[in-house]
Protein backbone atom coordinates (compact mmCIF):
# COMPACT_ATOMS: atom_id res chain seq x y z
CA UNK A 1 0.00 0.00 0.00
CA UNK A 2 1.22 3.44 -0.83
CA UNK A 3 2.08 5.80 2.00
CA UNK A 4 -0.66 8.32 1.14
CA UNK A 5 -3.19 5.53 1.13
CA UNK A 6 -2.05 4.41 4.56
CA UNK A 7 -2.75 7.90 5.85
CA UNK A 8 -6.25 7.80 4.38
CA UNK A 9 -7.00 4.45 5.99
CA UNK A 10 -5.73 5.76 9.32
CA UNK A 11 -8.03 8.77 9.01
CA UNK A 12 -10.99 6.52 8.20
CA UNK A 13 -10.17 4.33 11.17
CA UNK A 14 -10.06 7.41 13.37
CA UNK A 15 -13.51 8.44 12.16
CA UNK A 16 -14.84 4.99 13.02
CA UNK A 17 -13.25 5.04 16.48
CA UNK A 18 -15.10 8.24 17.37
CA UNK A 19 -18.19 6.11 17.93
CA UNK A 20 -16.29 4.07 20.52
CA UNK A 21 -15.02 7.26 22.15
CA UNK A 22 -18.62 8.52 22.28
CA UNK A 23 -19.76 5.45 24.18
CA UNK A 24 -16.81 5.61 26.55
CA UNK A 25 -17.43 9.34 26.98
CA UNK A 26 -21.11 8.85 27.84
CA UNK A 27 -20.37 6.15 30.42
CA UNK A 28 -17.44 8.03 31.97
CA UNK A 29 -19.31 11.33 32.22
CA UNK A 30 -22.40 9.72 33.75
CA UNK A 31 -20.36 7.60 36.18
CA UNK A 32 -18.02 10.39 37.21
CA UNK A 33 -20.77 12.85 38.14
CA UNK A 34 -22.97 10.14 39.64
CA UNK A 35 -20.20 8.89 41.92
CA UNK A 36 -19.74 12.44 43.12
CA UNK A 37 -23.49 12.61 43.64
CA UNK A 38 -23.52 9.47 45.77
CA UNK A 39 -20.80 10.88 48.02
CA UNK A 40 -23.44 13.30 49.29
CA UNK A 41 -26.63 11.30 48.92
CA UNK A 42 -27.08 7.72 50.03
CA UNK A 43 -27.87 5.19 47.34
CA UNK A 44 -30.62 3.69 49.51
CA UNK A 45 -32.34 7.06 49.74
CA UNK A 46 -32.02 7.47 45.97
CA UNK A 47 -33.87 4.25 45.17
CA UNK A 48 -36.37 4.16 48.05
CA UNK A 49 -37.36 7.74 48.95
CA UNK A 50 -40.71 8.60 47.40
CA UNK A 51 -40.00 12.30 47.06
CA UNK A 52 -37.80 14.16 44.57
CA UNK A 53 -37.24 17.77 45.62
CA UNK A 54 -33.57 18.64 45.00
CA UNK A 55 -34.41 22.22 44.02
CA UNK A 56 -36.36 22.98 47.21
CA UNK A 57 -35.08 23.97 50.66
CA UNK A 58 -36.31 20.66 52.07
CA UNK A 59 -34.28 18.35 49.83
CA UNK A 60 -35.28 14.79 49.00
CA UNK A 61 -33.43 12.65 46.47
CA UNK A 62 -35.74 9.74 45.70
CA UNK A 63 -35.74 8.86 42.01
CA UNK A 64 -39.01 6.86 42.26
CA UNK A 65 -41.34 9.77 41.37
CA UNK A 66 -39.39 10.46 38.15
CA UNK A 67 -39.29 6.75 37.31
CA UNK A 68 -43.03 6.38 37.92
CA UNK A 69 -43.73 9.43 35.74
CA UNK A 70 -41.56 8.01 32.98
CA UNK A 71 -43.19 4.57 33.20
CA UNK A 72 -46.66 6.11 33.25
CA UNK A 73 -46.25 8.17 30.06
CA UNK A 74 -44.44 5.27 28.37
CA UNK A 75 -47.22 2.82 29.26
CA UNK A 76 -49.89 5.15 27.87
CA UNK A 77 -47.84 5.65 24.71
CA UNK A 78 -47.44 1.91 24.19
CA UNK A 79 -51.15 1.31 24.84
CA UNK A 80 -51.79 3.63 21.88
CA UNK A 81 -48.94 2.62 19.59
CA UNK A 82 -49.00 -1.16 20.01
CA UNK A 83 -52.57 -2.02 18.94
CA UNK A 84 -52.69 0.67 16.26
CA UNK A 85 -49.18 0.00 14.94
CA UNK A 86 -49.56 -3.77 14.87
CA UNK A 87 -52.97 -3.57 13.19
CA UNK A 88 -51.50 -1.28 10.54
CA UNK A 89 -48.62 -3.69 9.98
CA UNK A 90 -50.95 -6.68 9.55
CA UNK A 91 -53.36 -4.71 7.40
CA UNK A 92 -50.63 -3.39 5.08
CA UNK A 93 -49.03 -6.82 4.80
CA UNK A 94 -52.07 -9.09 4.49
CA UNK A 95 -55.04 -7.02 3.33
CA UNK A 96 -54.03 -3.86 1.52
CA UNK A 97 -53.41 -3.73 -2.23
CA UNK A 98 -49.73 -3.45 -3.19
CA UNK A 99 -49.91 0.19 -4.28
CA UNK A 100 -51.63 1.14 -1.02
CA UNK A 101 -48.80 -0.33 1.01
CA UNK A 102 -46.17 1.44 -1.08
CA UNK A 103 -47.85 4.82 -0.63
CA UNK A 104 -48.94 4.60 2.98
CA UNK A 105 -45.87 3.14 4.64
CA UNK A 106 -43.67 6.19 3.85
CA UNK A 107 -46.60 8.53 4.54
CA UNK A 108 -46.95 7.11 8.04
CA UNK A 109 -43.23 7.53 8.55
CA UNK A 110 -43.75 11.29 8.22
CA UNK A 111 -45.20 11.01 11.75
CA UNK A 112 -41.72 10.15 13.01
CA UNK A 113 -40.07 13.02 11.09
CA UNK A 114 -42.06 15.79 12.81
CA UNK A 115 -39.88 17.50 15.46
CA UNK A 116 -40.99 16.49 18.94
CA UNK A 117 -41.39 20.09 20.11
CA UNK A 118 -44.22 20.32 17.57
CA UNK A 119 -45.94 17.32 19.16
CA UNK A 120 -45.54 18.97 22.55
CA UNK A 121 -47.34 22.07 21.29
CA UNK A 122 -50.05 19.83 19.80
CA UNK A 123 -50.51 17.90 23.05
CA UNK A 124 -50.77 21.07 25.13
CA UNK A 125 -52.97 23.20 22.88
CA UNK A 126 -55.17 20.64 21.08
CA UNK A 127 -55.25 17.24 22.79
CA UNK A 128 -55.47 18.43 26.40
CA UNK A 129 -58.40 20.85 25.74
CA UNK A 130 -60.12 18.10 23.75
CA UNK A 131 -59.73 15.59 26.57
CA UNK A 132 -60.89 18.21 29.08
CA UNK A 133 -64.12 18.59 27.12
CA UNK A 134 -64.75 14.89 27.81
CA UNK A 135 -63.30 14.73 31.31
CA UNK A 136 -63.41 18.20 32.90
CA UNK A 137 -61.31 17.26 35.95
CA UNK A 138 -58.22 16.71 33.82
CA UNK A 139 -55.39 19.06 34.81
CA UNK A 140 -53.87 21.41 32.24
CA UNK A 141 -50.62 19.46 32.45
CA UNK A 142 -51.10 15.70 32.60
CA UNK A 143 -49.53 12.38 31.70
CA UNK A 144 -52.52 11.23 29.66
CA UNK A 145 -52.34 13.80 26.89
CA UNK A 146 -48.53 13.64 26.65
CA UNK A 147 -48.64 9.82 26.60
CA UNK A 148 -51.28 9.65 23.86
CA UNK A 149 -49.40 12.07 21.61
CA UNK A 150 -46.15 10.23 22.25
CA UNK A 151 -47.96 7.02 21.28
CA UNK A 152 -49.03 8.57 17.97
CA UNK A 153 -45.46 9.66 17.33
CA UNK A 154 -44.09 6.12 17.76
CA UNK A 155 -46.80 4.38 15.68
CA UNK A 156 -44.47 4.23 12.65
CA UNK A 157 -41.74 2.55 14.72
CA UNK A 158 -44.11 -0.32 15.50
CA UNK A 159 -45.90 -0.42 12.14
CA UNK A 160 -42.91 -0.14 9.81
CA UNK A 161 -40.58 -2.50 11.66
CA UNK A 162 -43.34 -5.05 12.30
CA UNK A 163 -44.37 -4.90 8.66
CA UNK A 164 -40.76 -5.55 7.67
CA UNK A 165 -40.80 -8.60 9.94
CA UNK A 166 -44.08 -9.88 8.45
CA UNK A 167 -42.72 -9.25 4.97
CA UNK A 168 -39.73 -11.47 5.73
CA UNK A 169 -41.89 -14.49 6.62
CA UNK A 170 -41.58 -17.04 3.81
CA UNK A 171 -44.52 -17.09 1.41
CA UNK A 172 -45.05 -20.82 1.73
CA UNK A 173 -46.30 -20.47 5.30
CA UNK A 174 -48.96 -18.02 4.18
CA UNK A 175 -49.92 -20.16 1.18
CA UNK A 176 -50.14 -23.33 3.27
CA UNK A 177 -52.50 -21.59 5.66
CA UNK A 178 -54.68 -20.25 2.85
CA UNK A 179 -54.63 -23.71 1.29
CA UNK A 180 -56.11 -25.13 4.48
CA UNK A 181 -59.03 -22.76 4.07
CA UNK A 182 -58.05 -20.15 6.66
CA UNK A 183 -59.28 -16.59 6.31
CA UNK A 184 -56.78 -13.73 6.11
CA UNK A 185 -57.50 -12.92 9.75
CA UNK A 186 -56.76 -16.47 10.88
CA UNK A 187 -53.63 -16.63 8.75
CA UNK A 188 -52.46 -13.28 10.13
CA UNK A 189 -52.79 -14.06 13.79
CA UNK A 190 -52.26 -17.83 13.86
CA UNK A 191 -49.41 -18.06 11.33
CA UNK A 192 -47.85 -14.75 10.30
CA UNK A 193 -47.67 -12.87 13.60
CA UNK A 194 -46.28 -15.88 15.51
CA UNK A 195 -43.76 -16.49 12.72
CA UNK A 196 -42.66 -12.85 12.78
CA UNK A 197 -42.85 -12.56 16.56
CA UNK A 198 -39.16 -11.91 17.18
CA UNK A 199 -39.14 -8.98 14.74
CA UNK A 200 -42.38 -7.64 16.18
CA UNK A 201 -41.05 -7.88 19.75
CA UNK A 202 -37.90 -6.03 18.67
CA UNK A 203 -40.01 -3.25 17.13
CA UNK A 204 -42.03 -2.92 20.34
CA UNK A 205 -38.91 -2.82 22.52
CA UNK A 206 -37.41 -0.11 20.33
CA UNK A 207 -40.65 1.85 20.59
CA UNK A 208 -40.62 1.53 24.39
CA UNK A 209 -37.00 2.64 24.53
CA UNK A 210 -37.84 5.60 22.32
CA UNK A 211 -40.78 6.56 24.54
CA UNK A 212 -38.68 6.38 27.72
CA UNK A 213 -36.09 8.73 26.25
CA UNK A 214 -38.57 11.14 24.66
CA UNK A 215 -38.16 14.57 26.14
CA UNK A 216 -39.93 17.56 24.64
CA UNK A 217 -43.52 16.22 24.57
CA UNK A 218 -43.45 15.42 28.27
CA UNK A 219 -41.47 18.56 29.15
CA UNK A 220 -44.17 20.70 27.51
CA UNK A 221 -47.40 18.82 28.21
CA UNK A 222 -46.92 16.59 31.27
CA UNK A 223 -45.88 19.18 33.83
CA UNK A 224 -42.95 19.61 36.21
CA UNK A 225 -44.28 18.09 39.42
CA UNK A 226 -42.51 14.87 40.35
CA UNK A 227 -44.94 12.66 42.24
CA UNK A 228 -44.98 8.97 43.02
CA UNK A 229 -48.35 8.21 41.48
CA UNK A 230 -49.85 6.45 38.51
CA UNK A 231 -52.76 8.86 38.11
CA UNK A 232 -52.73 9.97 34.46
CA UNK A 233 -54.89 13.04 35.02
CA UNK A 234 -52.52 15.09 37.19
CA UNK A 235 -49.21 16.82 36.42
CA UNK A 236 -46.17 14.56 36.82
CA UNK A 237 -42.51 14.78 35.79
CA UNK A 238 -40.40 12.33 33.82
CA UNK A 239 -36.64 11.80 34.11
CA UNK A 240 -36.07 13.60 30.81
CA UNK A 241 -38.32 16.53 31.72
CA UNK A 242 -36.41 17.00 34.97
CA UNK A 243 -33.10 17.24 33.12
CA UNK A 244 -34.62 19.90 30.85
CA UNK A 245 -36.08 21.79 33.80
CA UNK A 246 -32.70 22.00 35.54
CA UNK A 247 -30.88 22.88 32.30
CA UNK A 248 -33.24 25.81 31.66
CA UNK A 249 -32.35 27.28 35.04
CA UNK A 250 -29.06 28.62 36.28
CA UNK A 251 -27.51 25.78 38.26
CA UNK A 252 -23.82 26.25 39.11
CA UNK A 253 -21.43 23.61 37.81
CA UNK A 254 -20.26 21.15 40.46
CA UNK A 255 -23.18 21.75 42.82
CA UNK A 256 -25.31 18.91 44.08
CA UNK A 257 -28.24 20.16 41.97
CA UNK A 258 -26.00 19.99 38.89
CA UNK A 259 -25.10 16.39 39.70
CA UNK A 260 -28.72 15.34 40.08
CA UNK A 261 -29.23 15.58 36.31
CA UNK A 262 -26.40 13.08 35.79
CA UNK A 263 -27.84 10.74 38.41
CA UNK A 264 -31.20 11.02 36.64
CA UNK A 265 -29.42 10.59 33.31
CA UNK A 266 -27.66 7.39 34.32
CA UNK A 267 -31.00 5.94 35.47
CA UNK A 268 -32.43 6.72 32.04
CA UNK A 269 -29.34 5.32 30.32
CA UNK A 270 -29.56 2.04 32.26
CA UNK A 271 -33.21 1.58 31.28
CA UNK A 272 -32.67 2.21 27.56
CA UNK A 273 -29.39 0.26 27.52
CA UNK A 274 -31.12 -2.81 28.96
CA UNK A 275 -33.97 -2.56 26.46
CA UNK A 276 -31.61 -2.08 23.51
CA UNK A 277 -29.47 -5.01 24.63
CA UNK A 278 -32.52 -7.27 24.89
CA UNK A 279 -33.67 -6.32 21.40
CA UNK A 280 -30.15 -6.83 20.04
CA UNK A 281 -30.02 -10.24 21.69
CA UNK A 282 -33.42 -11.28 20.30
CA UNK A 283 -32.39 -10.10 16.83
CA UNK A 284 -29.15 -12.08 16.92
CA UNK A 285 -30.77 -15.19 18.35
CA UNK A 286 -33.89 -15.50 16.24
CA UNK A 287 -32.91 -13.80 13.00
CA UNK A 288 -33.06 -15.81 9.76
CA UNK A 289 -34.73 -18.73 11.41
CA UNK A 290 -36.24 -19.73 8.09
CA UNK A 291 -33.18 -19.49 5.85
Amino acid sequence: MKFSEKIIVTLLKFAASITILTTIGIIMVLLFETIAFFKEVSFIEFITDKEWTPLFAQKHFGILPLVSGTLLTTTIAILVALPVGLTIAVYLNMYAPKGFRKTFKPLLEVLAAVPTVVYGFFALTVVTPFLQSIYPDLAGFNALSAGIVMGIMIIPFVSSLSEDALYAVPKRLKEASFGMGSTRFQTSFKVMVPAASSGIVVSIILAISRAIGETMIVAIAAGQQPRFSFDPTVPIETITAYIVQVSMGDVPHGSLEYRTIFAAGITLFVFTFLLNSISFWIKKKYQEKYD
Binding site: A15, A16, G25, P83, V84, F185, I243, F262, L268
Partner: protein, 285 residues
Protein backbone atom coordinates in the same frame (compact mmCIF):
# COMPACT_ATOMS: atom_id res chain seq x y z
CA UNK B 1 -74.56 -18.44 11.71
CA UNK B 2 -72.11 -21.14 10.67
CA UNK B 3 -68.49 -21.07 11.70
CA UNK B 4 -67.35 -20.18 8.18
CA UNK B 5 -69.70 -17.21 8.07
CA UNK B 6 -68.51 -16.06 11.46
CA UNK B 7 -64.88 -16.30 10.39
CA UNK B 8 -65.56 -14.33 7.24
CA UNK B 9 -67.32 -11.66 9.29
CA UNK B 10 -64.35 -11.36 11.64
CA UNK B 11 -62.07 -11.15 8.62
CA UNK B 12 -64.12 -8.31 7.11
CA UNK B 13 -64.36 -6.60 10.46
CA UNK B 14 -60.59 -6.60 10.88
CA UNK B 15 -60.15 -5.22 7.38
CA UNK B 16 -62.29 -2.20 8.31
CA UNK B 17 -60.40 -1.81 11.58
CA UNK B 18 -57.13 -1.94 9.65
CA UNK B 19 -58.20 0.88 7.35
CA UNK B 20 -59.38 2.92 10.35
CA UNK B 21 -56.02 2.46 12.11
CA UNK B 22 -54.01 3.36 9.02
CA UNK B 23 -55.95 6.57 8.58
CA UNK B 24 -55.97 7.34 12.32
CA UNK B 25 -52.32 8.41 12.26
CA UNK B 26 -52.72 10.41 9.07
CA UNK B 27 -55.88 12.14 10.28
CA UNK B 28 -54.09 13.18 13.47
CA UNK B 29 -51.23 14.50 11.36
CA UNK B 30 -53.75 16.44 9.24
CA UNK B 31 -55.44 17.88 12.35
CA UNK B 32 -52.02 18.89 13.73
CA UNK B 33 -51.02 20.67 10.54
CA UNK B 34 -54.44 22.29 10.06
CA UNK B 35 -54.45 23.53 13.63
CA UNK B 36 -51.00 25.03 13.40
CA UNK B 37 -51.74 26.68 10.06
CA UNK B 38 -54.99 28.14 11.39
CA UNK B 39 -53.30 29.49 14.48
CA UNK B 40 -50.05 30.72 13.03
CA UNK B 41 -50.30 31.37 9.29
CA UNK B 42 -51.59 34.95 9.57
CA UNK B 43 -48.75 35.78 11.97
CA UNK B 44 -46.05 35.03 9.39
CA UNK B 45 -44.83 38.07 7.53
CA UNK B 46 -41.51 39.66 6.71
CA UNK B 47 -41.32 41.43 10.08
CA UNK B 48 -41.78 38.12 11.92
CA UNK B 49 -38.87 36.65 9.98
CA UNK B 50 -36.48 39.52 10.61
CA UNK B 51 -37.49 40.80 14.06
CA UNK B 52 -35.40 40.11 17.14
CA UNK B 53 -36.94 38.43 20.20
CA UNK B 54 -39.11 40.64 22.37
CA UNK B 55 -41.17 40.57 25.53
CA UNK B 56 -44.22 41.68 23.59
CA UNK B 57 -45.52 38.85 21.40
CA UNK B 58 -46.58 41.14 18.54
CA UNK B 59 -43.07 42.57 18.25
CA UNK B 60 -41.16 39.31 18.63
CA UNK B 61 -39.60 37.63 15.63
CA UNK B 62 -37.59 34.54 14.85
CA UNK B 63 -34.54 36.11 13.21
CA UNK B 64 -31.99 35.02 15.84
CA UNK B 65 -33.52 31.53 16.02
CA UNK B 66 -33.46 31.07 12.24
CA UNK B 67 -29.87 32.27 12.04
CA UNK B 68 -28.93 29.92 14.92
CA UNK B 69 -30.55 27.01 13.11
CA UNK B 70 -28.73 27.86 9.87
CA UNK B 71 -25.39 28.04 11.71
CA UNK B 72 -26.10 24.72 13.45
CA UNK B 73 -27.14 23.14 10.17
CA UNK B 74 -23.98 24.19 8.33
CA UNK B 75 -21.55 23.40 11.15
CA UNK B 76 -23.14 20.04 11.99
CA UNK B 77 -22.98 19.06 8.31
CA UNK B 78 -19.32 20.09 8.08
CA UNK B 79 -18.44 17.98 11.13
CA UNK B 80 -20.73 14.97 10.79
CA UNK B 81 -20.62 14.44 7.02
CA UNK B 82 -16.90 13.60 6.63
CA UNK B 83 -16.73 11.71 9.93
CA UNK B 84 -19.85 9.65 9.30
CA UNK B 85 -19.09 8.80 5.69
CA UNK B 86 -15.46 8.07 6.57
CA UNK B 87 -16.47 5.73 9.37
CA UNK B 88 -19.00 4.06 7.08
CA UNK B 89 -16.36 3.48 4.39
CA UNK B 90 -13.93 2.08 6.92
CA UNK B 91 -16.44 -0.36 8.38
CA UNK B 92 -17.78 -1.53 5.02
CA UNK B 93 -14.57 -1.65 2.96
CA UNK B 94 -11.62 -2.03 5.30
CA UNK B 95 -12.61 -3.18 8.74
CA UNK B 96 -14.72 -6.18 7.86
CA UNK B 97 -14.29 -9.38 9.82
CA UNK B 98 -11.88 -7.85 12.30
CA UNK B 99 -12.59 -7.93 16.02
CA UNK B 100 -12.66 -4.14 16.05
CA UNK B 101 -15.34 -4.13 13.34
CA UNK B 102 -17.76 -6.36 15.21
CA UNK B 103 -17.21 -4.31 18.36
CA UNK B 104 -17.87 -1.14 16.38
CA UNK B 105 -21.04 -2.62 14.91
CA UNK B 106 -22.58 -3.54 18.27
CA UNK B 107 -21.49 -0.18 19.59
CA UNK B 108 -23.14 1.79 16.79
CA UNK B 109 -26.39 -0.17 17.15
CA UNK B 110 -26.35 0.72 20.83
CA UNK B 111 -25.53 4.40 20.27
CA UNK B 112 -28.49 4.72 17.92
CA UNK B 113 -30.73 3.76 20.85
CA UNK B 114 -29.30 6.23 23.36
CA UNK B 115 -31.82 9.03 24.11
CA UNK B 116 -30.82 12.38 22.64
CA UNK B 117 -30.85 14.09 26.03
CA UNK B 118 -27.99 11.80 27.17
CA UNK B 119 -25.91 13.20 24.31
CA UNK B 120 -26.73 16.58 25.79
CA UNK B 121 -25.21 15.52 29.13
CA UNK B 122 -22.12 14.25 27.27
CA UNK B 123 -21.77 17.54 25.39
CA UNK B 124 -22.27 19.56 28.57
CA UNK B 125 -19.44 17.81 30.39
CA UNK B 126 -16.98 17.27 27.52
CA UNK B 127 -17.43 20.20 25.14
CA UNK B 128 -18.86 22.89 27.40
CA UNK B 129 -16.82 22.20 30.57
CA UNK B 130 -13.64 20.29 29.69
CA UNK B 131 -13.00 21.87 26.27
CA UNK B 132 -14.28 25.16 27.73
CA UNK B 133 -16.38 25.97 24.67
CA UNK B 134 -19.26 27.31 26.81
CA UNK B 135 -22.80 27.33 25.46
CA UNK B 136 -21.49 28.12 21.98
CA UNK B 137 -22.55 27.10 18.49
CA UNK B 138 -19.46 24.91 18.29
CA UNK B 139 -20.39 22.95 21.43
CA UNK B 140 -23.93 22.55 20.12
CA UNK B 141 -22.88 21.34 16.66
CA UNK B 142 -20.31 18.91 18.06
CA UNK B 143 -22.98 17.42 20.33
CA UNK B 144 -25.50 17.08 17.50
CA UNK B 145 -22.80 15.60 15.24
CA UNK B 146 -22.19 12.78 17.71
CA UNK B 147 -25.95 12.27 17.92
CA UNK B 148 -26.44 11.80 14.16
CA UNK B 149 -23.18 9.97 13.45
CA UNK B 150 -24.74 6.48 13.83
CA UNK B 151 -27.51 7.37 11.34
CA UNK B 152 -25.00 8.56 8.71
CA UNK B 153 -22.73 5.55 9.24
CA UNK B 154 -25.58 3.06 8.82
CA UNK B 155 -26.87 4.83 5.69
CA UNK B 156 -23.37 4.97 4.17
CA UNK B 157 -22.79 1.27 4.80
CA UNK B 158 -26.15 0.32 3.30
CA UNK B 159 -25.50 2.21 0.07
CA UNK B 160 -21.90 0.99 -0.24
CA UNK B 161 -23.18 -2.55 0.22
CA UNK B 162 -25.60 -2.08 -2.69
CA UNK B 163 -22.74 -1.52 -5.18
CA UNK B 164 -22.12 -4.86 -6.92
CA UNK B 165 -18.72 -6.43 -6.43
CA UNK B 166 -18.28 -6.77 -10.22
CA UNK B 167 -17.67 -3.01 -10.39
CA UNK B 168 -15.02 -3.18 -7.69
CA UNK B 169 -13.41 -6.29 -9.21
CA UNK B 170 -13.22 -4.65 -12.62
CA UNK B 171 -11.56 -1.59 -11.15
CA UNK B 172 -9.05 -3.65 -9.18
CA UNK B 173 -8.31 -5.77 -12.26
CA UNK B 174 -7.41 -2.61 -14.17
CA UNK B 175 -4.75 -1.93 -11.57
CA UNK B 176 -6.54 0.61 -9.36
CA UNK B 177 -5.64 0.47 -5.71
CA UNK B 178 -8.29 -0.17 -3.07
CA UNK B 179 -8.68 3.50 -2.23
CA UNK B 180 -8.76 4.50 -5.92
CA UNK B 181 -11.53 1.95 -6.43
CA UNK B 182 -13.52 3.34 -3.53
CA UNK B 183 -12.97 6.97 -4.47
CA UNK B 184 -13.54 6.62 -8.22
CA UNK B 185 -16.07 3.79 -8.45
CA UNK B 186 -17.82 2.71 -5.27
CA UNK B 187 -18.41 6.14 -3.75
CA UNK B 188 -19.75 7.86 -6.91
CA UNK B 189 -22.05 4.90 -7.53
CA UNK B 190 -23.48 5.06 -4.02
CA UNK B 191 -23.49 8.83 -3.49
CA UNK B 192 -27.29 9.07 -3.85
CA UNK B 193 -27.91 6.77 -0.92
CA UNK B 194 -25.20 8.44 1.14
CA UNK B 195 -26.65 11.90 0.55
CA UNK B 196 -30.16 10.69 1.36
CA UNK B 197 -28.93 9.39 4.70
CA UNK B 198 -26.98 12.55 5.46
CA UNK B 199 -29.92 14.85 4.66
CA UNK B 200 -32.30 12.80 6.80
CA UNK B 201 -29.79 12.87 9.65
CA UNK B 202 -29.33 16.65 9.40
CA UNK B 203 -33.07 17.15 9.25
CA UNK B 204 -33.31 15.18 12.48
CA UNK B 205 -30.58 17.36 13.99
CA UNK B 206 -32.33 20.67 13.32
CA UNK B 207 -35.53 19.37 14.93
CA UNK B 208 -33.66 18.43 18.11
CA UNK B 209 -34.34 20.52 21.19
CA UNK B 210 -33.37 18.64 24.33
CA UNK B 211 -29.60 18.12 23.82
CA UNK B 212 -29.12 21.78 22.91
CA UNK B 213 -31.01 22.94 25.99
CA UNK B 214 -28.72 20.76 28.10
CA UNK B 215 -25.51 22.09 26.53
CA UNK B 216 -26.74 25.57 27.36
CA UNK B 217 -28.30 27.07 24.26
CA UNK B 218 -30.26 30.03 25.52
CA UNK B 219 -33.93 30.79 25.30
CA UNK B 220 -33.22 34.49 24.87
CA UNK B 221 -30.44 35.69 22.59
CA UNK B 222 -30.62 39.36 21.62
CA UNK B 223 -28.41 39.16 18.52
CA UNK B 224 -27.86 36.71 15.71
CA UNK B 225 -24.59 34.76 16.12
CA UNK B 226 -21.68 35.82 13.95
CA UNK B 227 -18.98 33.28 14.84
CA UNK B 228 -18.87 29.62 15.95
CA UNK B 229 -18.00 30.68 19.49
CA UNK B 230 -21.12 32.82 19.94
CA UNK B 231 -24.08 32.00 22.14
CA UNK B 232 -27.14 30.94 20.23
CA UNK B 233 -30.70 29.78 20.17
CA UNK B 234 -32.42 27.61 17.56
CA UNK B 235 -35.98 27.36 16.23
CA UNK B 236 -37.11 24.43 18.42
CA UNK B 237 -35.86 26.15 21.57
CA UNK B 238 -37.56 29.41 20.56
CA UNK B 239 -40.78 27.42 20.06
CA UNK B 240 -40.36 25.67 23.42
CA UNK B 241 -39.82 29.04 25.08
CA UNK B 242 -42.96 30.53 23.54
CA UNK B 243 -45.07 27.46 24.26
CA UNK B 244 -44.15 27.69 27.95
CA UNK B 245 -45.56 31.21 28.29
CA UNK B 246 -49.13 31.88 29.40
CA UNK B 247 -50.07 34.75 27.01
CA UNK B 248 -52.01 33.66 23.96
CA UNK B 249 -49.91 35.90 21.70
CA UNK B 250 -46.90 33.70 22.29
CA UNK B 251 -48.87 30.55 21.40
CA UNK B 252 -49.63 32.22 18.06
CA UNK B 253 -45.94 33.01 17.65
CA UNK B 254 -45.08 29.41 18.48
CA UNK B 255 -47.52 28.14 15.83
CA UNK B 256 -46.04 30.51 13.25
CA UNK B 257 -42.49 29.41 14.10
CA UNK B 258 -43.62 25.76 13.89
CA UNK B 259 -44.85 26.38 10.34
CA UNK B 260 -41.39 27.61 9.37
CA UNK B 261 -39.69 24.68 11.15
CA UNK B 262 -42.02 22.09 9.59
CA UNK B 263 -41.47 23.66 6.19
CA UNK B 264 -37.69 23.27 6.58
CA UNK B 265 -38.09 19.67 7.84
CA UNK B 266 -40.45 18.63 5.05
CA UNK B 267 -38.35 20.30 2.33
CA UNK B 268 -35.26 18.45 3.55
CA UNK B 269 -37.15 15.15 3.66
CA UNK B 270 -38.49 15.89 0.18
CA UNK B 271 -34.98 16.49 -1.15
CA UNK B 272 -33.86 13.23 0.43
CA UNK B 273 -36.69 11.28 -1.22
CA UNK B 274 -35.92 13.01 -4.54
CA UNK B 275 -32.25 11.99 -4.33
CA UNK B 276 -33.18 8.43 -3.49
CA UNK B 277 -35.59 8.11 -6.41
CA UNK B 278 -33.28 9.81 -8.89
CA UNK B 279 -30.38 7.64 -7.83
CA UNK B 280 -32.43 4.44 -7.92
CA UNK B 281 -33.58 5.26 -11.44
CA UNK B 282 -30.15 6.18 -12.74
CA UNK B 283 -28.20 3.25 -11.42
CA UNK B 284 -29.36 -0.05 -12.82
CA UNK B 285 -26.92 -2.88 -12.50
Amino acid sequence: MTNAQKNRLIDKGFQVFGIVCTFFGLVILAILIYNILEEGLTRIDWDFMKDLPSRRPQKAGIYTAVMGTVWILVMTTLIAFPLGVGAGIYLEEYGKKTKLASLLEINIANLAGVPSIIYGLLGLEIFVRIFKLGGSLLAGSLTLSLLILPIIIVATRESLKAVPSSIKDASMALGASKWQTIWNQTLPASIGGVLTGVILAISRAIGETAPLIVVGALAYVPFAPSSPMDEFTVMPIQIFNWVSRPQHGFAVNAAAAIIVLLLITFIMNGIAVYFRNKWQKKVKW
